[in-house]
């Protein structure tokens, strides 16, 4: 036990390198040949580079990062599945990792048998599982399916069953990897309640890896962003979530080039307002285009909510006479003060008078921006599109 009683996990200078075999190194012949040639049959890939952080007891600690950033490797080292090359990992308290839900699930076994098997992997004896079996089935809402083989379950049902077993684990530290976005709405509400409760009680420490910034902001009290095996940001969940969303925007707009040409020679959309706005700001967009011929045309701008996958606003400019090779510049302003936090993509198209499309801006070139309100009450509900909470009487 550590002298600092309030530290759950302390990581110091953690590094991890994987050896990726260049050729099939599990063949004896290769190994022998490589040995005599002096060839190492693998190349090294640094996955984690000198990572240090501490998680205190009762923390709900979020870990975010793009695919391949090293966050899953980090979790596997924390839970003892992988071994660190360098550095120290200190864990105070018992730890159950659900690196994935439903570990050990076997399609040929019935739901009941899988509960016992999965439970054993989480450290429960047969008696212990029998005692809570009814609760598990109740939570999963799978009463009539328990004697059926798992292979006859839908994927949603499997996850529900797995989640229902997993939350019984009574360890001091939980490690969760991408488990929130499962099941139908009713089940998600249950999961939500479970996480809310952990967050309130603060007897369990949770490390949550997710791509959902909503979850990070909702549950976590601390968060960390990993980029290329290093800690990019460690701090308040809001900051980390914003940084992560921003990084993803930048990736989406990377690369240059012109709009795809049809009758259009060039097509550009510029964001005149900031790429992170609050409810007090307006969005200002400049549309510039140059036609390959004389044509009467108009521009259509649609704002799309990337996360919720819904168009939130849009409008068409008035039709103007374009001269060949001459720039036409139009600007448009949107008032989005009624919206909740969102990631927004600007979609632009050019149309002629007859209602035929002339050109559009490729997805990769579409500007994006974030809406981050500064006036949230404590009991925020960020999943809705609109900020309005209704007029209560």
């Amino acid at each position: 036990m550590s002298a600092e009683r309030d530290v759950a996990i302390a990581v110091k200078g953690l590094s991890k390198t994987f050896r990726l075999p260049t050729e099939s190194a599990s063949e004896l012949k290769r190994v022998v040949v490589n040995f005599f040639r002096g060839v190492r049959g693998y190349k090294e890939q640094k996955v984690l580079k000198d990572i240090s952080f501490t998680v205190e007891k009762g923390d709900f600690f979020g870990v975010v990062g793009r695919n391949g950033s090293g966050k899953s490797t980090l979790l596997k080292i924390l839970s003892g599945i992988y071994e660190a090359d360098k550095g120290k990992v200190e864990v105070n308290g018992s730890l159950v990792p659900f690196i994935e839900l439903g570990v050990g699930f076997n399609p040929e076994l019935t739901g009941r048998e899988n509960v016992y098997l999965n439970g054993a992997l989480l450290g429960f004896s047969v008696e212990e599982i029998s005692a809570m079996y009814d609760d598990i089935v109740e939570f999963a809402e799978l009463h009539e399916f328990m004697e059926q083989k798992l292979k006859n379950y839908s994927s949603g049902m499997q996850v529900r069953l797995a989640f229902s077993v997993a939350i019984r684990a009574k360890s001091d530290i939980l490690i969760l990897d991408e488990v929130l976005a499962v099941g139908d709405e009713a089940f998600q509400r249950k999961c939500n309640e479970y996480f809310e409760q952990i967050r309130r009680d603060r007897n369990q420490t949770v490390i949550l890896v997710t791509h959902s910034m909503g979850s990070v902001q909702k549950y976590c009290n601390k968060a960390m962003m990993i980029r290329d095996g290093k800690i990019a940001l460690l701090g308040a969940p809001e900051d980390v979530a914003n940084e992560y969303s921003m990084e993803n925007l930048n990736v989406a707009t990377a690369g240059d080039g012109n709009g795809r040409r049809m009758a259009v020679e060039e097509f550009k959309i510029d964001l005149l307002s900031k790429n992170k706005i609050s409810q007090n700001d307006k969005v200002k967009i400049k549309v510039s285009y140059k036609m390959a011929e004389d044509v009467r045309a108009n521009a259509l701008i649609v704002l799309t909510d990337v996360d919720r996958n819904v168009s939130i606003a849009g409008g068409r400019s008035k039709t103007v006479q374009c001269k060949k090779g001459e720039w036409v510049v139009q600007t448009v302003t949107f008032d989005l003060s009624q919206l909740n936090d969102s990631s927004v993509r600007v979609v632009g198209e050019l149309w002629d008078e007859e209602g035929d499309i002339l050109g559009y801006l490729p997805d990769g070139l579409a500007p994006r921006f974030l809406i981050r309100r500064t006036d949230y009450p404590k009991d925020r509900a960020t999943w809705a599109v609109l900020f309005s909470r209704g007029e209560w009487e």
Binding site: S26, E27, K76, G80, I81, Y82, V103
Partner: protein, 273 residues
């Protein structure tokens, strides 16, 4: 970190559940199901007895040759099954290894356990067979227990070694198949050892063959369980004490090497397998 008692409890729970699962899934979808664990060695025995006992008359003059043939078959079958399944245990369970941290030896032990259950069932069949064949059991039959223990330790040790090697070199599976077939013929299972002594006109080769733990175990079990007549062991051949020690030393050496090698490599199984 978890203390030793907790880890041990976890290992026990896990082992029990994995063995149960293996047992349930073993004959998944087959009509006769677990009857196959008895039928397989019996069918093999039937063919062998027809060829070697009846056609070739190799067991002539040896009392209860049929029972001995069946017994040898069952013991060898266990060894082949335990080592073969043990070898693949780590690789077969690699999905599990990558998702949760648990003592790796559990999966190897659980793979050999189902073979052990089979052995128990099959030994029951052998005993029934022996009764019908008029074998008179004596107290020396109790030697069966320490000998089966020795057999299990040997099989487990080989399984540990093979499973760790198999993670790195998949060639091991092919190599082991050939080796097992060769060893089968080098072990007095389908022929009595006395035949070797007669034909070579010396006990030297028989003694060398008996230094193999499998030969020693099979002969010792036959000797203590079925009949002292017609069964040669290192004891009856009058080998000196250091020769008698050889098979036990081999078992101990394999176990030591396996333990060290498995422990050293098990921490990286999740990454490599």
């Amino acid at each position: 970190m978890q203390n030793k008692a907790q880890r041990l409890r976890y290992s026990r729970i896990l082992l029990r559940e994995l063995v149960k699962t293996d047992f349930k899934l073993r004959y998944q979808g087959s009509v006769l199901g677990h009857l196959w664990s008895i039928l397989r060695p019996l069918m093999m025995f039937g063919i062998m007895y027809l060829v070697f006992g009846y056609f070739l008359r190799w067991g002539e003059g040896i009392p209860h040759f049929a029972v001995m043939l069946l017994l040898g078959n069952v013991l060898w079958g266990f060894f082949a099954e335990a080592t073969g399944q043990g070898m693949r245990a780590i690789v077969d369970r690699r999905d599990l290894l990558r998702k949760i941290n648990f003592p790796k030896y559990i999966v190897v032990v659980s793979a050999t356990m189902s073979a052990l259950i089979n052995l128990a069932i099959n030994l029951g069949v052998v005993l029934v067979f022996a009764l019908f064949d008029g074998v008179a059991f004596s107290w020396s039959a109790l030697w069966l227990l320490p000998l089966v223990l020795q057999l299990y330790i040997f099989a487990l040790a080989v399984a540990f070694l093979l499973s760790a090697l198999y993670v790195k070199f998949r060639d091991i599976a092919q190599l082991w198949d050939v080796l097992m077939q060769g060893l089968f013929f080098l072990t007095p299972i389908i022929y009595p050892l006395s035949m070797i002594i007669e034909r070579t006109e010396t006990v030297r080769w028989a003694t060398v063959m008996l230094m193999s733990p499998m030969a020693q175990i099979i002969q010792d079990v036959r000797y203590s369980l079925i009949s002292r007549e017609g069964v040669d062991t290192l004891g009856t051949l009058g080998a000196s004490w250091y020769v008698v020690m050889v098979p036990y030393l081999i078992v101990a050496a394999v176990a030591a090497v396996a333990a060290v090698y498995f422990r050293r490599n098990s921490r990286r199984f999740a990454e490599v397998a």
